[in-house]
């Protein structure tokens, strides 16, 4: 590998890490608060991507306004799913798992029926240019995901640590019963967690609608790497997700460049298995007692 290829690969990996982090952070937040894996999180992402397609690509809204709308749509979907699925099934992990698996199909069919099954929906790049750095060249559209990922993760961490509502969310994540005794409204907190998770999926989908192929199957493609990142990082750990995103982004990109994509996926799964064997709770997760 020449130095130029190495720098290009590092740049590619950094961009992918940012993308993974932005997708996975909402998933881990929802899991942390509700102790349920939302398999439809990738489909929230897809909803964000379709929002940008509809508003920006078709109706010529400004790109950033369309992304803002995707954030709102994601939050509303998160709230609706919390009210319709997670709240009635609270405490029943298997039922939640099955319900969100079913929700994936509902989303996929809904999007297919509304926007068509055939081609990908092309979302024109608002910034059809690359950022050049030390001979490496990365799409501007990918680069801007990195500051967004940092801002979202940093903002979420500050919110969870320094804000009353955030601390309440953490309390619910640690011990819902004790939090309830302290007067924290559990329903409001789970609704808040899902709204934030939905909004994060919306912003990720909106920003990356120009990078990925926007099709009804998009959610299914997204959820698998996101789940791997969340499992490796530790379910419910925002810091863990950040670390895992960087590890998996680099592993995936380097192996794809040096060998191929299929091997890269195998290595990613092997890394996950290794982490689970050594630390079943993930890199920064906590053992549930």
């Amino acid at each position: 590998m020449t130095s130029q290829t190495l720098i290009q690969t590092i740049a590619n990996a950094a961009a992918v890490s940012g993308m993974y982090a932005l997708i996975a952070v909402g998933l881990t937040l929802a899991f942390g608060v509700m102790q349920m894996a939302n398999l439809a999180h990738g489909h929230f992402f897809m909803a964000g991507a379709y929002t940008v397609y509809a508003l920006y690509a078709l109706n010529k809204w400004p790109f950033w306004l369309a992304v803002a709308a995707a954030v709102g749509i994601g939050a509303v979907i998160g709230l609706a799913v919390e009210r319709g699925i997670f709240r009635p099934l609270r405490g029943d992990v298997v039922a939640g798992f099955i319900a969100t698996a079913g929700l994936m199909f509902v989303f996929e069919v809904f999007m297919g029926e509304v926007w068509g099954w055939g081609y990908m929906r092309p979302v024109p790049s608002p910034y059809m240019r690359a950022v050049k750095f030390m001979g490496a060249s990365v799409a501007f559209q990918r680069v801007i995901v990195i500051p967004f990922a940092i801002a979202c993760i940093g903002g979420l961490m500050i919110f969870m640590r320094w804000f009353r509502l955030g601390r309440a969310l953490r309390a619910v994540a640690q011990d819902p019963e004790a939090a309830s005794i302290q007067g924290i409204n559990i329903n409001r907190m789970t609704a808040l967690a899902m709204a934030i998770a939905g909004a994060l999926a919306g912003i990720a989908g909106g920003l990356m609608s120009t990078i990925y192929a926007v099709t009804p199957a998009l959610g299914g493609h997204i959820i698998l790497p996101a789940l791997i990142v969340v499992v490796v990082g530790g379910m419910g750990s925002i810091g863990g997700v950040t670390l895992a995103s960087i590890i998996m982004g680099f592993v995936n990109t380097f192996v794809t460049t040096l060998v191929d994509g299929v091997t890269a996926f195998m290595v990613s799964v092997a890394v996950m298995a290794l982490v689970l064997a050594i630390r079943p709770q993930g890199l920064m997760g906590h053992v549930v007692t």
């Binding site: 055939g118 990908m120 092309p122």
Partner: protein, 487 residues
């Protein structure tokens, strides 16, 4: 009672008289349906174009040797056809548009009363099944099409799907028209291909690339060639023929890798290809969705060489890259557009365009919200010869629909028959072990900045060119285990 009986008798007599008169009138007005033996095209028998049939539709039926538009014949049973392709997913761009082409041609046939075969007109009906480019789904689709709809002919994309469906379709003697002759095999007597001119166009890509590159002498080194595409049977096979042609044309192969069909991030793939510094990058059989994302990465990572591929979808690509970049990299592919001025104002292609626009174009009744692509004609290109074969074979079996064996034999017996791309004939024994491939002129295209789309730059004859290079090519295909006798 008598007073009431009289009007009743009068009404009865009047009714009988009216019935007799209408029968006589009807007999006099209606042309007598000729028996198969008596079928003629004498001017007396022609009563003008059937209702609803346009002049352009007459033109697109002009390949048929014996359609006798305007002459009435007895109507036979409906002949069912299948469309077994990816209608969704990353390969949909090679399937979905083809359904439009098949639909407009089939509807034109039906407006004439049906396909005239052996003295009967057979209405055609097409049934579509979305196989999503997944082999197991293709087999499920083949079963549904054959067992539920009794289809006799299937338009398909091929590759993994061809392999999965071949045993079942061979058993039922159903013709499977693949887009790639690499699917042809002596063990698959009903798999036909070649209307689509793959892999010939991939091999000609090498020739056109060489045409636009500086010579080895000017470069002071061998010209280099890289190939990458998704890992599927079609890509492996077509890629082998293309690499063979590149070797035969003196290129040094610096990269030949296939990525997984689940790939969503093409940045590292393009980085790996570019690291080998190729003069030519071939996207080979990259699915429509993938080639768009690969073009985007080529542009963003600053590739400056020639880019060739089997099929480019410029309407989508230009949402990701500037037209100037596509032109600078030449954007070489095949599958021309039927509205390319190269074909001329009065041509089959122009009429096809007119019919397509009237039905699927902007503001048309079934507006598909896209430009006509090079795939819109790519499936009907084999349906038409199959119907030609049926008409020829039907002469030996009056009043009956001929078997697929008879249809294919009739086509093979023709020294030449018309195709969408020009005169064709059955060939393929040399390359694929069976004469189930149509050989016809191969149109080669480049991206044209003024048109902001592809335009034909050459119309090439494959067989004499291939004859000169085949020893080298076959050696390379054998090295990769892709000759029909190695599979």
């Amino acid at each position: 009672m008598k007073k009431r009986a009289l009007p009743k008798s009068v009404v009865f007599i009047l009714l009988v008289a009216a019935l007799a008169m209408s029968l006589a009138l009807a007999g006099g007005c209606k042309k007598k349906a000729p028996t198969p033996e008596a079928a003629t095209t004498t001017p007396e028998a022609i009563s003008g174009l059937p209702a609803g049939l346009t002049q352009d539709e007459v033109v697109i039926l002009s390949h048929l040797p014996d359609q006798q538009i305007g002459v009435e014949y007895p109507i036979g049973e409906t002949i069912h056809l299948g469309f077994l392709c990816a209608l969704s997913g990353p390969d949909a761009g090679w399937g979905l548009p083809g359904l439009c082409g098949n639909n407009i041609w089939i509807d034109a046939v039906n407006k004439t009363g049906g396909l005239l075969v052996g003295g009967k007109r057979y209405p055609l009906e097409i049934h579509a099944f979305d196989d999503e480019a997944i082999a197991s789904k293709a087999l499920q689709g083949a079963r549904e099409l054959v067992l539920e709809h009794d289809v006799k002919f299937i338009s398909a994309i091929g590759g993994d799907a061809a392999k999965a469906t071949a045993p079942f379709l061979t058993e039922h003697k159903v013709v499977y028209a693949s887009l790639v002759p690499t699917d042809c095999d002596p063990n698959r007597p009903y798999v036909v291909a070649g209307g689509d001119i793959t892999p010939q166009c991939n091999m000609f890509n090498v020739l056109i690339a060489k045409m636009v590159l500086p010579s080895e002498e000017e470069m002071g080194r061998k010209l280099t060639y890289a190939l990458t595409t998704q890992d599927c049977i079609m890509s492996r096979q077509v890629g082998a023929w293309e690499i063979g042609a590149a070797k035969a044309m003196g290129f040094k192969i610096v990269y030949e890798e296939f990525f997984g069909v689940e790939t969503t991030d093409f940045a590292p793939i393009i980085t790996a290809v570019m690291a080998t510094k190729p003069d030519v990058i071939s996207l080979c059989e990259a699915w429509p969705e993938y080639q768009t994302m690969m073009w985007e990465q080529l542009y963003l990572q600053g590739y400056e060489g020639v880019v060739v591929q089997n099929y480019a979808d410029w309407e989508t690509n230009l949402t990701k890259i500037p037209a100037e970049y596509a032109a600078a990299q030449f954007g070489i592919d095949s599958f021309p557009l039927m509205d390319d001025p190269w074909w001329g104002e009065t041509s089959w292609q122009k009429s096809f365009t007119n019919v397509w626009n009237a039905r699927y174009g902007p503001g048309a009744p079934e507006d598909v919200k896209r430009r006509m692509t090079g795939i819109d004609w790519d499936h009907v290109i084999w349906l038409i010869p199959w119907c030609i074969g049926a008409q020829i074979a039907g002469k030996d079996t009056p009043g009956e629909w001929p078997s697929n064996d008879a249809i294919l034999a009739a086509l093979r017996a023709q020294p030449s028959f018309p195709t969408v791309l020009g005169p064709g004939h059955m060939s393929g024994k040399d390359m694929f072990g069976i004469d189930n491939m149509i050989e016809e002129p191969v149109p080669m295209c480049m991206f044209n900045l003024e048109a902001t789309d592809k335009r034909i730059v050459a119309h090439l004859n494959f067989e004499p060119w291939y004859e000169n290079i085949k020893d080298v090519v076959i050696k390379e295909v054998e090295k990769r285990g892709q000759m029909y006798y190695q599979r």
